[in-house]
């Protein structure tokens, strides 16, 4: 039988969103007291927890120390219970290593590492529940955690996954859409300057379509950026109310 119809003639997606609409984003900052910074973020049914330690002195091998900037260390993992099929996920499997590397690259582009020479910043992200766009959700959660830790960044880093169906770009793919044979692309953006921190794509897509897709991704990222900004402001207000008491 026919597979799923990802975009109906009426312009609705499987879950009822229109092509450019994002999933609902909810987030909280400062969820752990021990860490220097932490945040919990839900983007639809994908839920992630990010924790930041640092900047602190280099640990482990000193050879990695950089004299003019801080080293960013990222670790990505998925909870055993995060997907529909329960699976043991050993640390350091190929997928998480790759994801960790991508996160590291993303934050190296955003964090003002030159302010902390010879030190290290650790970012730990865990996917608690996975429903598509894992990378993007991790980036968004980690951004909030880094802000919570008070580490200066050039701008928010906002990420979003977009796909291409029936000549239409779809923003913020869910798991069913990612699996439905869509060429998808993940993009992390510094929204104010419009700089791209990372762009990742595994699927085949014709060059002529790329520009439209990137444009759609940037619009989506800016949308995410607005939400993150609101969360941060909200958090600041709460904290300032608390401290003024």
């Amino acid at each position: 039988m026919a597979g799923m119809e990802l975009l109906s003639d009426q312009g609705y997606r499987l879950d009822g969103r229109k092509a450019t609409e994002l999933r609902k984003v909810q987030a909280r900052m400062g969820v752990f007291a021990q860490a220097d910074g932490s945040a919990y973020l839900e983007q639809g049914n994908t839920k992630a927890l990010a924790v930041v330690y640092g900047p602190h002195e280099m640990r482990g091998s000193r050879s990695r120390t950089l004299h003019d900037q801080a080293v960013i260390n990222c670790q990505y993992s998925m909870a055993t219970f995060s997907t529909a099929e329960r699976k043991r996920r050993p640390h350091g499997d190929r997928k998480s290593t790759e994801m960790s590397l991508h996160l590291k690259q993303t934050f190296e582009a955003a964090v003002m590492t030159q302010l902390y020479p010879r030190s290290q910043i650790d970012i730990y992200v865990k996917i608690l529940q996975s429903d598509g766009g894992n990378y993007s959700v991790c980036v968004n959660a980690a951004t909030l955690a880094v802000i919570d830790a008070g580490i200066p960044m050039r701008d928010y880093v906002c990420a979003c996954t977009v796909g291409f169906v029936d000549e239409t770009p779809l923003a913020d793919l869910c798991y069913a859409e990612e699996g439905g044979g869509v060429s998808s692309l993940a993009l992390a953006l510094l929204p104010r300057g419009g700089q791209i921190a990372l762009l990742q794509m595994d699927a085949r897509l014709h060059q002529d379509h790329l520009e439209r897709l990137i444009e759609a991704a940037m619009t989506a990222c800016k949308g995410v950026g607005k939400v993150l900004d609101e969360v941060v402001r909200q958090h600041l207000q709460e904290v300032s109310v608390l401290t003024s008491d």
């Binding site: 026919a2 009426q10 879950d15 969103r17 639809g44 099929e85 429903d131 060429s183 085949r204």
Partner: protein, 950 residues
């Protein structure tokens, strides 16, 4: 607003998985009604004055059909009378899931503006979404969702403005329970039948209603005739455990009590299971996918050679049948027995609407009649109609609705009439339908993707396109051709070489991947040519206008340009999108005349001469490499210009210019095939022609040997060479006959995807690689090849499906099927016109040759008409003559006379129209005279001497 949807899904490995999906509810989904001013919609679909005249509903109203109504009554919904219908998303999804053909039709209907069908996305509407309750089945939930949406509509439309109009919604359902619940909640609800009956001035529509399950009980006695079908879950378990087999049910054409089930095994190895008797056939219909259980070995039987047609009046008691079944079971040698089984369940029905005729019931007042399909493999169908007397003698279409276990025949409903039987238009329609040739008018959705007229080449079109308008390009085609897809040019280059260009209509410029126009063309696969009629693959605006390379207009093309020396060796090949302005559209004869006329020396003629010269060299080279030139009789009818009846019939003759055009088309196809394969090794769409297995040649070898001629079949080259020298003195026609036989030994050429196959060889053309590039107006394969080539030279973009070898492979299967069916339809059309011709001619005497010898007949070819017919020696009404068949010869002794292949005979030809659905040409032997077998030569009828009208 956010809802999360949780459901449980079984994975392929059998584990149970819980799937959680988000489900957003919105408040910006509008009702689509013109009468509403609450919704902020930009455009509306449903009319304010929604008037269908009905006895039940005297007020304007919108219809909301439930899923089953859509699935079963799509014929009624498609009627122009039915307008202003709300299709709920719930219904649309269920239909999509349950029947692809109905879904497609529904979508077509929804695209028609004048039908005013609106899709309401109720599953995402904040007020109409409902959650499944504990213990509620998925079906019940969907029924409830439909009721909730209907309720919402009826309340929504009660706004102050519209209440004055009294606009209402009417729910249509055939489900008693659902109807009751809807009534209880105060909805207007009718059964589909009730509602359709109430429509004023539409008595015909009644007949198109499918019978619902409630009515079935009335039709037959409560006696159970067939064993129950097993539920799907048990079938699956059975197939897994090996106790059942899954296969395609193929009914026998000659015996309605017999069928085989074709079970596809691993790789090449597949088996056939024989099924005999009504009980074991158990309501399976030709082409259904069924589950069968093998009978114990001692109950196995042999296929019977008896011809049994299900004829006469309706058989509701099975006494007669038992008699007939006994006939089947008598003679079965131990050795001849085949694996025999019985149908235990249906996995997938493959019902389509069938063409046929009504056997009007003997009882005058009866509204129930049996319908006999034209295809003998389909059982008779019982339908209900009040217009039996009108429909008698007409070809009609009937769809099966169901086959309950207590009914001898499947129940169906009248779909439409095709016209009087025997009439040309009707029969043409029948043969299109029976060969599954899509031939409806193009839907609105498809037409919406056509370029807007007046069309002109814009500067954007010229990007990445070469301007070749200055070249002397011309086209050469058969007379009356309006879909010209190729044009040629040839000119001298300064370096002494020649430049030859083949310019093909740039159809892929107009048909963009994935839109409705593209999908329709992909589904049609090919243009079908019948005698005097053409069923286009793409709408006429493209086929006969914008893509047709007519003279003196600017047309977009895709060109393949070679630089050649005078020995026709290719020095350079390049491909480019281009624009041309053809200087002349010639027929083969006109082109031939220009070439032959030494006084003509204009640029067109020079170009033609250059082409002709090169083509001759190319052809010689090709034949030297071992390409086959085979012969098949192509027949052309001379039609009467007014009645369009055939008045004369002649075999098509070929001119030098035919083969000139053909040579360059072949060359272009080969060049393009190589290019796209080099660029896209995994997903090039190619065409191959497998060599026939040696046993195929048996008949050719035997036939040749009977005339002491030796034929070598080791390779295409050997075959071609030995055919060339095969001559018999005093028998000039011998070589042609041999070539006709050789053609019959060949395999079908097929499209395939290069990534899915390793053998690319084209046997007939002796080319290591081949594809179709030159006729994109009439073949979809060429459109794909154009897209691949365009991507290869950077003139256009690729898209995912083009690069997906599995998707392309699936497309090839459809294209091969459509081409085969088109060929059959074409043959059927020729044979129908031959019949018409002989009907008008009366009985004719002709000379012919024996082409094949069979056990009880000879097959005779009449070269004059390209007609093949069978002379039977064991007719039913006469005592059979003494027949001795020798397979080695092969020869057939009839009394004292022995028939060999290639014998010259004289026969009479007449039309046998005793069975109006299956008219056929009958041949009887005149010479040689065999007492008791041959017939006396009839007087030549004066009719035949009438002056010809063409």
């Amino acid at each position: 607003m956010l809802k999360s949807k949780t459901f449980v899904k079984k994975t392929r490995s059998g584990r149970v998985m819980k799937i959680v999906r988000e489900h957003y509810l919105r408040d910006d989904i509008w009702c689509g009604s013109e009468a509403c001013d609450e919704c902020k919609q930009e455009s509306t679909v449903l009319q304010q004055e929604a008037c269908i005249e009905s006895n039940l509903c005297s007020y304007p109203h919108y219809l909301i059909p439930d899923t089953n109504v859509v699935l079963h009554q799509i014929d009624v919904l498609g009627d122009p009378v039915i307008r202003n219908v709300i299709i709920l998303q719930t219904v649309l999804q269920e239909v999509r899931h349950r029947s692809a053909p109905v879904y497609k039709r529904l979508k077509d209907i929804m695209h028609e503006k004048e039908k005013h069908f609106y899709t309401f996305t109720n599953e995402h509407h904040r007020e109409t979404f409902i959650e499944r309750e504990p213990g509620e089945s998925a079906n019940d939930r969907n029924d409830r969702a439909i009721r909730v949406a209907a309720r919402w509509y009826s309340q929504h439309l009660k706004t102050p403005k519209s209440s004055t109009d009294g606009l209402k919604v009417v729910l249509l359902t055939n489900d008693q329970g659902n109807k009751q619940k809807a009534e209880d909640s105060g909805l207007l609800v009718y059964k589909c039948e009730e509602y359709i009956k109430s429509l004023i001035a539409n008595p015909d529509l009644m007949d198109r209603l499918a019978l619902s399950s409630d009515d079935k009980n009335e039709i037959t006695s409560s006696k159970v005739l067939f064993p129950e079908h097993l539920p799907l879950s048990r079938i699956q378990t059975g197939i897994k455990s090996g106790s059942f087999l899954q296969g395609t049910f193929r009914a026998s054409r000659d015996n309605y009590l017999e069928a085989t089930v074709f079970v596809q095994g691993e790789g090449e190895d597949s088996t056939e299971v024989l099924i005999q008797g009504l009980q074991d056939l158990n309501r399976a219909v030709h082409q259904d996918v069924v589950a069968v259980q093998l009978l114990p070995r001692n109950q196995w039987v042999a296929p019977s050679s008896v011809v049994l047609q299900d004829e006469g009046t309706a058989k509701d008691d099975d006494i007669e049948e038992e008699e007939e079944e006994k006939v089947l079971r008598i003679s079965a040698h131990e050795a001849a027995r085949k694996p025999t089984g019985k149908v235990v369940g249906i996995i997938k029905r493959n019902w389509r609407p069938f063409c046929g005729m009504l056997n009007v019931s003997q009882i005058k007042e009866s509204t129930r009649h049996l319908f006999t399909p034209a295809d003998r493999r389909i059982p008779r169908i019982r339908i209900e109609t009040r217009q039996a007397s009108t429909l008698a003698g007409q070809r009609i279409m009937v769809a099966i609705d169901g086959w309950p276990k207590d009914s001898r025949y499947p129940n169906g409903h009248f779909v439409r009439s095709l016209g009087s039987a025997g009439e040309k238009d009707t029969e043409e329609e029948v043969l299109l339908l029976e060969h599954d040739v899509p031939h409806q008018a193009f839907s609105q959705a498809v037409l919406s993707f056509l370029p807007k007229m007046p069309w002109a080449i814009t500067p954007e079109d010229m990007v990445r396109r070469e301007d070749l308008r200055h070249l002397t390009v011309c086209s050469v085609d058969p007379p009356g051709c309006t879909d010209i897809d190729d044009a040629l040019h040839c000119r001298d280059l300064e370096n002494g070489n020649l430049e030859v260009g083949v310019h093909i209509a740039d159809v892929s410029h107009f048909i963009r991947p994935g839109n409705a126009l593209d999908k329709e063309a992909a589904s049609r696969g090919t243009t079908v040519y019948l005698c005097g009629k053409r069923i286009d693959m793409v709408p006429e605006l493209l086929s006969s206008n914008l893509c047709s390379l007519r003279s003196n207009v600017e047309r977009l093309t895709f060109s393949c340009i070679w630089e050649m020396n005078h020995k026709a060796e290719i020095l350079k090949t390049r491909f480019t999108k281009s624009v041309i302005n053809s200087k002349a559209s010639l027929t083969y004869a006109e082109a031939q005349m220009r070439i032959d006329d030494a006084t003509k020396n204009d640029s067109i003629t020079k170009s033609l001469r250059g082409l002709n010269k090169l083509a001759k060299i190319l052809k010689r080279q090709r034949i030297e490499k071992g390409a086959l030139t085979l012969s098949s009789m192509e027949v052309r009818f001379h039609m009467d210009s007014e009645t369009h009846d055939p008045i004369d019939l002649q075999t098509k003759e070929l001119m030098e210019t035919n083969s000139m055009v053909e040579e360059f088309m072949l060359l272009a196809n080969i060049s393009v095939a190589q290019k796209i394969y080099d660029e896209f090794a995994e997903c090039a769409l190619l065409r191959k022609h497998p060599p026939p297995p040696p046993s195929n040649y048996d008949i050719l070898l035997k036939a040749a040997k009977s005339k002491d001629v030796e034929i070598h079949t080791d390779s295409a080259k050997a075959l071609a060479d030995s055919l060339d020298v095969a001559r018999v003195d005093g028998f000039p026609y011998f070589n042609t006959l041999l070539r006709i036989l050789a053609t019959r030994c060949m395999m079908q050429a097929v499209y395939f995807c290069s990534g899915m196959d390793s053998d690319f060889h084209h046997y007939g053309l002796a080319s290591p690689i081949y594809t179709h590039f030159t006729s994109p107006i009439r073949r979809y394969a060429d459109i794909i090849v154009h897209r691949l080539l365009a991507a290869a030279i950077g003139a256009d973009s690729t898209y995912p499906d083009l690069m997906d070898k599995h998707k392309q492979s699936a497309l090839c299967i459809n294209l091969n099927y459509r081409h085969k069916m088109a060929q059959y339809a074409q043959r059927a059309s020729v044979s129908f016109h031959t019949q018409l011709f002989f009907k008008n001619r009366g009985i004719v005497n002709e000379e012919g040759f024996v082409l094949f010898v069979r056990k009880n007949a000879i097959i005779v070819l009449i070269p004059k008409f390209g007609l093949e017919g069978t002379v039977f020696f064991d007719t039913k009404d006469k005592t059979a003559p003494n027949l001795v068949f020798d397979e080695e010869g092969p020869t057939l002794n009839v009394e004292q006379h022995t028939f060999h292949i290639f014998d010259k005979v004289k026969v009479t030809i007449s039309l046998d129209d005793s069975n109006i659905q299956h008219q056929k040409i009958r041949m009887a032997l005149i010479d040689p005279v065999i007492p008791g077998v041959s017939v006396p030569a009839p007087d030549i009828e004066p009719q035949a001497k009438k002056p010809k009208l063409d």
